[in-house]
């Protein structure tokens, strides 16, 4: 058997902040422009495709994040086994890419998911992120793509003071140690 290895595999706790890497998580990038594409993904995933900027929708198993007018980011709410991952990816690829409705790309290992919880998570983000979280904070389901310490991230507001942050795998160790360093001073 091949070993499954993620860069961080750790959880750290500070006063009122908890940071943990959560993997394996299924992640799929979806791109398309047509109405058919939008209806199709909604149907295939039993989810309402979010068309408003910076929003998301979720069902029991999956969350679907708006990234741009023709791009969405799908991820599993729970850890998911590799075989199921292939199944969903294959199904979407067949129903969307094969029929020229858009593109379906597995990005499970392109991104690393870090969960941030606690009443001071926004203070932690403010150490390196120019984005104004004042409204985001209070909008469950809100999504933002921005920079933390010059590193691209996608942040999903799951719940009050409960965020999932996605960072490209090769940057993840650096961002992780940077956030842990900042958390010491909050």
């Amino acid at each position: 058997m091949l070993n499954f290895i993620t860069p961080i595999m750790d959880t750290k706790e500070y006063s009122e902040i908890k940071i943990s890497e959560i993997e394996p998580i299924l992640k799929i990038n979806l791109r398309g422009k047509s109405r058919d594409f939008i209806t199709k993904i909604g149907k295939e995933l039993s989810i309402i495709t979010p068309v408003d900027p910076n929003t998301s929708s979720s069902n029991e198993k999956l969350s679907l994040l708006w990234l741009s007018p023709d791009e969405w980011f799908l991820y599993s709410n729970d850890k998911i086994h590799i075989k199921n991952e292939n199944f969903l990816e294959d199904k979407l690829f067949k129903e969307i890419s094969k029929v020229k409705l858009g593109s379906v790309t597995n990005v499970s290992d392109h991104w690393i998911m870090i969960n941030l919880t606690g009443t001071k998570v926004y203070e932690l983000l403010s150490t390196g992120c120019p984005f104004n979280f004042n409204n985001f904070k209070n909008s469950k389901g809100a999504v933002v793509q921005t920079l933390i310490n010059h590193i691209d991230v996608i942040i999903h507001n799951k719940n009050v003071n409960d965020l999932n942050l996605f960072v490209r795998r090769s940057f993840s160790e650096h961002l992780w140690s940077w956030m842990n360093d900042s958390a010491r001073f909050i």
Partner: protein, 91 residues
């Protein structure tokens, strides 16, 4: 550091964007039929205005969409933002 109102994502910090130079320079459909001078006009010539300038910007660290910006280069005031393919606003 200014703020740019991305036509897709809303107002964001300048650090999320990158500039793509002057807007509304259309790539010739039949480059092979152009003279050296005509091709050079497309390739090299830019206005570089002090004042109101039409520019292309990319929300590189956000939605990755390109769009147009009407910016006064003398004070960085952005007068308008509009999507690719849309008509520039009349002054």
């Amino acid at each position: 550091m200014f703020l740019i109102n991305c036509p897709y994502c809303g107002e964001r910090d300048q650090s999320e964007f990158s500039s793509g130079g002057e807007a509304h320079i259309v790539r010739p459909k039949q480059p092979t039929e152009l003279s050296d001078d005509q091709w050079a006009e497309y390739l090299f010539m830019r206005k570089n205005i002090k004042g109101v300038q039409f520019e292309r910007w990319n929300h590189t660290h956000g939605c990755r969409k390109w769009f147009n910006v009407v910016r006064d280069t003398s004070n960085d005031i952005i007068h308008a933002v509009y999507k690719m393919g849309e008509k520039p606003p009349v002054k």
